[in-house]
């Protein structure tokens, strides 16, 4: 196993963590504020958009994926991809089959 490529351990600095914390708090304030404005169909889209952005920040920085090995990046990417396939296909099935006959 001597040819095994080991990943160098990267220490993320407190400054990065503080910036991410601020971004997450801003995102929370923004999503609460946006929910009080009537934007029709855009309300859930904006709320989920902000949630996805916040989740990405947490994964990349708090969970160190940005600084992790290719294996970790691939694992996370494959997980998100599989998750979207499963949810997307299930929703597509429900929305196109017997809709309105519940």
């Amino acid at each position: 196993m001597s040819e095994h490529q080991e990943h160098e351990h990267h220490i993320v600095s407190p400054k990065v963590y503080a910036i991410i914390l601020l971004a997450l708090l801003t995102g929370t304030a923004l999503t609460v504020w946006a929910s009080y404005i009537d934007l029709g169909i855009l309300n859930p889209i904006i709320a989920l958009g902000i949630a996805c952005t916040k989740a990405t920040l947490v994964v990349l920085f708090f969970m160190h994926v940005k600084y992790s090995s290719k294996l970790t990046k691939l694992t996370v990417g494959a997980g998100v991809f599989t998750f979207l396939i499963l949810v997307g296909m299930t929703l597509a099935d429900y929305f196109t089959r017997a809709w309105g006959r519940w």
Binding site: M1, S2, H4, E6, H7, H9, I11, V12, S13, P14, Y17, A18, I20, L21, L24, L25, T28, T31, V32, S35, Y36, D38, L39, G40, N43, P44, A47, L48, I50, A51, K54, A55, V58, V59, F61, F62, M63, H64, S68, S69, L71, T72, T75, V76, G79, T82, F83, L86, V87, T90, L91, Y94, F95, W102
Partner: protein
């Protein structure tokens, strides 16, 4: 994610094994062991993603089927309490990340402080969740034999429904609010269970950290627990808008 030292070897063995006591002997190097445990932790988290994914999918489908019932149901939740809980959880994620940094840079008292803060913020989250749950119990919004439709059939009698401008609902749609609260309790309950498990492990880690277990160069346990704690935070980041926020104007 194990942090206990490898099983003690005999005298003959220890002469051959020239590695730190926390390195399992089937790994060539510490870096290899850390890569393997980190990979395993992510695989575990992916199974958790799939588990919560099922709940989220159920929520999306039922929300579209029984839309008016889900709108009226979500009007019963308090945005200030949910928002405060979001702040607590995000801050606890930050203190946990700082804890990982303290462990990596071998700051023992800093690590203990960060873990205690994370512990307290986690308990604060559960405390607020208890307040929210007790309100649901008082109003008979817990699905089951004692479920009450009054807030939805007669919104004028209910402060939250009145504030949101709800109109009286037909009986068959009003009954579907029970589906909303079933999913509300299933999702927030599973999330709270993960918090309780996390807080229990944090309690154990505080004791171990005080003994200096994580500030002697072996930080895998703190790091992988951090991954778990941030994952629980991410679940809440999605639960908060989906359950509390997106139906304020219908």
């Amino acid at each position: 994610m194990s942090d206990s030292p490898a099983i003690a070897h005999g005298a003959a063995d220890s002469a051959v094994h020239e590695h730190p006591p926390y390195q399992r002997h089937h790994f060539e190097t510490m870096a290899q062991q850390n890569d393997a445990t980190n990979f395993a932790m992510w695989i575990f988290l992916l199974t958790e993603v799939m588990f919560f994914g099922g709940l989220f999918t159920a929520y999306l489908i039922y929300r579209n089927w029984y839309y008016p019932a889900f709108v009226a149901g979500s009007h019963q939740l308090s945005i200030p309490l949910g928002g405060l809980n979001t702040l607590l959880l995000i801050t606890s994620s930050f203190t946990m990340a700082m804890g990982v940094w303290c462990a990596e840079t071998r700051r023992k008292s800093g690590l203990v402080l960060c873990l205690i803060l994370t512990f307290i913020l986690g308990l604060g989250f559960l405390g607020i969740k208890t307040i929210e749950y007790s309100e649901k119990i008082e109003k008979h919004h817990v699905p089951g034999f004692h479920y009450s439709l009054q807030s939805f059939l007669d919104p004028a009698s209910d402060d939250a429904a009145k504030a949101a401008g709800d109109k009286p609902m037909a009986l068959d749609m009003a009954r579907h609010t029970e589906v909303y609260f079933s999913l509300y309790f299933a999702m927030t309950g599973m999330h709270a269970l993960h918090m309780i498990i996390g807080i229990s492990i944090l309690g154990y880690m505080i004791f171990r950290a005080r003994a200096g277990a994580y500030t002697a160069g072996h930080v895998a346990f703190v790091e992988n627990f951090g991954l778990y704690w941030h994952f629980v935070d991410i679940i809440w980041i999605f639960l908060f808008p989906l359950l509390y926020l997106i139906s304020r104007h219908q």
